[in-house]
Symmetry: C2
Subunit: 333 residues, 2 copies
């Protein structure tokens, strides 16, 4: 588990309004639900995002690069340049720092991006490392997407599977609790889902095919939270059917065992793509050709209703806030 | 005091070599002694720098903006866009966050820059806030300076005064120790030196006049450390006379009382400018006209000797590592 303590919506809104400032170069500044800032450079657009990893020990360097880079990729732009600030606890040995550096380098190589700067220091009072990565991309104005860009009639594509990140976290954190009830090789495979946390490849394939209007990676609140954020940002209605959403067997088994709703389970690595209906099939087949599972799960529409039809026939109203299941299950387990 | 635990030179060098990567767009990636990364965007150059503030309580938001922005300005480029990641301790009240946000906004306004993004969260295990700010500027290729850009014959200009930041820190941290020996109004004025920590105005005035080849803000190691870094990066000799270096009365009194060498005292807010000798006088008078004290203190030269002539006639060899006096005096006091 590695993301804590987001601020309440209203407090965040107040902060953002305080920080806002007249600046014609800033196309998109701090905004709730938007993934990265957009700066107008005249010839091109700069896409910038900074994100901390404060709660992970394992793979923290690797994770930090991918988490920051994902928010550039969902803009339809390749993340190219990275800066990582590494804060180490006192009495850290060289081994920890070397591991982190190796992870950062590996993750950057995986997405073909370059570390251009950063800072490393021993920070008194920390009991674990903290890493903050800033990711930067640059692209042409007409290619930059926002979470708010979905259009009525767009098909919605989901990649990989619902709740994959949460599945991996549950398999790791609750291993001892799960191990009698779930086959060990299911748990081992589930843990490996963490390796798929980058959506850079998914996003770059989609924009290469074309017709993409908006993308979003569903973190807290899972797939339902992600769909809600896209619908709200675009001010559109939405209709999605659960039975069309790809869910991996490992996710199904682990979530059933723990009584967790995988549609409300943190799901970095999954990409939601809002796309021209004429291009949706092409994107799905191109993603599958590249080894990334993908399905059309629903569509955005003019009518204001925001609904996910569950397999049991019930409807989820996406106008109601979605609480991620991960924190609940971890805190009671 | 707010900068801890820089890594040893050799360890840092090893890290940087691990992270390096063939990328034609990266003009200047991670490098020791260089202040900000440079990315070639074709039409222009992007200047990016990220810095954490991990040890301050007071003014941490304000400080974080200026410290990060300074490293863009020393490139000769105006810092325009900022992202701040704010990590708050558990049980922080809204007051702390509001103060930080107000400080960030105020500092950004002071240098006419815009907050374009960031992240705020409650981070378990912290006993104080930590802020990491990424600063970004953009400029034409021919206007971008590096620490390594000084040329033989360049005059060296120093702004404000040697050790001003350290003076302010000593006046605050050792107030009780100093108060019997130094007049209180001297200490109060010294504390206010912290307000002058931005070098953005200094740097922008200098580049506007023209002829500037390199700039650097001397942080740890003070003025001597800063001169050393410029000389080493440019692979030049240097000759500076102490009696030409502006030192404020408050700095002189406090340093004399504590037995501290103000030339080795951390000095953010001071700008070192390496400039065409024909332009040096113009820059000094323009800075003074704008209320910023400045003097020509020496020059870079072909001969490899690197010397600062002290007032007592002794010579400091700048090929020997400079240890900042601040940590020593604070740890024994």
């Amino acid at each position: 588990m590695y993301r804590y303590g987001k601020l309440p919506y209203n407090q965040l809104k107040e902060i953002l309004s305080k920080l806002s400032r007249e600046d014609k170069s800033v196309i998109l500044g701090p905004a709730i639900g938007e993934d990265a800032a957009l700066v107008d450079l005249g010839e091109s657009i700069l896409v910038v995002h900074a994100d901390p990893i404060t709660g992970a020990e394992k793979d923290i360097g690797w994770l930090s690069i991918h988490v920051a880079a994902n928010d550039i990729a969902t803009r339809g732009i390749r993340p190219r340049w990275l800066l990582s600030v590494i804060l180490l606890p006192e009495r850290s040995d060289d081994k920890l720092l070397n591991e982190i550096i190796d992870q950062i380098k590996r993750a950057a190589d995986e997405i073909d991006a370059t570390i251009i700067g950063g800072h490393t220091e021993i920070t008194p009072g920390l009991d674990r490392p903290i890493i903050i990565t800033t990711a930067i991309g640059e692209g042409r104005k007409e290619n930059v997407l926002t979470t708010a860009g979905a259009r009525p009639g767009d098909k919605i594509i989901l990649t990989k599977g619902a709740g994959i990140e949460g599945t991996a976290i549950l398999a790791s954190e609750l291993y001892d609790k799960l191990v009698g009830k779930v086959e060990e090789d299911v748990l081992e495979r589930a843990k490996l889902f963490m390796r798929e946390i980058s959506v850079v490849k998914d996003a770059m394939i989609a924009v290469k095919v074309g017709g993409v209007h908006a993308m979003h990676d569903p973190t807290e609140g899972g797939v339902l939270g992600g769909l809600q954020e896209m619908a709200m940002a675009s001010n559109l209605g939405i209709y999605v059917e659960e039975e069309k959403i790809p869910v991996r067997r490992e996710t199904e088994i682990i979530c059933r065992t723990l009584g967790v709703d995988y549609l409300k389970l943190i799901s970095s690595g999954t990409l939601l793509i809002s796309v021209d209906p004429l291009k949706a099939r092409d994107i799905v087949s191109e993603l599958r050709k590249e080894g990334i599972d993908a399905s059309i799960i629903g569509q955005f529409r003019e009518e204001k209703e925001r609904v996910v039809l569950r397999k049991d026939g019930s409807k989820v109203d996406l106008n109601v806030p979605i609480i991620d299941e991960l924190w609940t299950i971890l805190s009671i387990s």
